[in-house]
Amino acid sequence: MSEISMSRPAVGEAGRTGEWRNSRPVVDPAKCLAVKQGKVTCQICWAYCPDGCVAQGVGPVIDLTYCKGCGICAEECPAKAIEMQPEALHGVCAIDAGGEVAR
């Protein structure tokens, strides 16, 4: 045991925070500017995610294991390409042992 409290950083300190949410962001590739242009573009969802759950990409990839469902990405997407869908639509608890990602 250590004499002092000195933590190391790791993902998921609070567990699978994806379990907090009532609704999840779903990206519509047909509307996403990055997908339409075929290159990394905009990335506003990536910038505004408080938890860093959005990976940049064509289009961006949201980590549903940890996404808390705040809805900022959906609210701020200039192309309205992200919709917050109730968890119930995706099964009561859609986080399985391996985590889940949505495109």
Binding site: S7, R16, C49, G52, T65, C67
Partner: protein
């Protein structure tokens, strides 16, 4: 040249699965603060919402050196770390960043900050202002806006908030800035600029808080930007005593577009529910007076 969102580096020192509230303004900003310093930093963090990002022993959610400190002591701890790094020949290794909330900066923490500023200690101080003692459940602070309901101002706070950046300006430090977590690229730029300046650099960052202000977490960015459009939050820099507005506040001052009425902003958050028209009008007058002052300073009408 202001950095665009697309040009922000794709790095993250803030790890998912942390304990902050959904939609927390601090998280958005912290990602850019740590990116601007390239993780070459040590943070002093008092008891506060930010502590939550440090996690519970033995796991933390932020991938940079971080020292937790007692509530009143953020600026003194940073002074000590800076002195210790100099004394052990390590001063060039990292930026010392003191980061505390409005309470830890302007109330219980102001003595240590004022002392550090008077001595022009060499570190960067960033105040994330979520306008109340949020970590203990939303009690009023000296930076809570007039009219806001908190758990110690149930009928709405009577007083206007302290002007902390102005107080810091009065210490004659080389860099004072005002920014907002709703403008992460602005946060990035100001931290990156401050990084290269010696002495005490103070950045004040308005930080929307869905839990404490009473709004849907999806609106963190929208309301942060709205506050700037009202003129309630003003983006600016004071470098060696020279004041200039920045970003959206510059545009607002120069286009002559009317600012959004305060009432529209107040209507978005349940902490202001129940504010009477008379009180709202007083806040409008207060905001107008302050805004005119900022515009005048920007135009160079007074030296500060």
């Amino acid at each position: 040249m202001a950095t665009k969102i697309l040009d922000l580096p794709d790095v993250s020192y803030v790890l998912p699965g942390n304990r902050s509230c959904a939609g927390c303004g601090i998280g958005i900003a912290l990602r850019q603060i740590t990116a601007a310093l390239e993780g070459k930093m040590v943070m002093t963090v008092p008891a506060s919402c930010l502590t939550v990002f440090g996690g519970m022993y033995p796991i933390s959610s932020v991938n940079v050196p971080w020292v937790n400190v007692a509530f009143p002591s953020t600026a003194a701890a940073a002074s000590g770390i800076a002195a210790g790094l100099r004394a052990t020949g390590r001063a060039g290794e990292m930026t010392v960043l003191a980061m505390a909330g409005d309470g830890g900066t302007g109330d219980i923490g102001i003595q240590a900050l004022s002392g550090a500023a008077e001595r022009n200690e060499d570190f960067l101080y960033l105040c994330y202002d979520n306008e109340a003692y949020m970590n203990t459940g939303t009690q009023r602070s000296g930076l809570t806006p007039a009219g806001a309901r908190t758990t110690t101002t149930w009928a709405g706070k009577r007083e206007n908030p302290k002007d902390l950046p102005r107080i810091m300006e009065a210490h004659g430090i080389p860099y004072v800035a005002s920014t907002s977590a709703a403008f992460p690229a602005d946060v990035y730029d100001k931290v990156a600029k401050a990084r290269g300046i010696k002495g005490l650099r103070y950045i004040h960052m308005n930080t929307p808080c869905p839990s404490g202000w009473g709004f849907d977490p999806k609106d963190t960015i929208r309301l942060g930007k709205l506050a700037v459009d009202v003129g309630l939050v003003v983006l600016y820099e004071v470098e060696d005593g020279v004041f200039r507005l920045t970003g959206r506040s510059t545009s607002l001052a120069k286009t002559g577009k009317p600012r959004v009425p305060v009432a529209e902003y107040l209507a978005t958050q349940s902490r202001f529910r129940g504010m009477k028209p008379g009180a709202i009008a007083e806040v409008q007058t207060w905001v107008d007076g302050r805004w005119d002052g900022y515009v005048a300073r920007d135009a160079g009408h007074c030296a500060g």
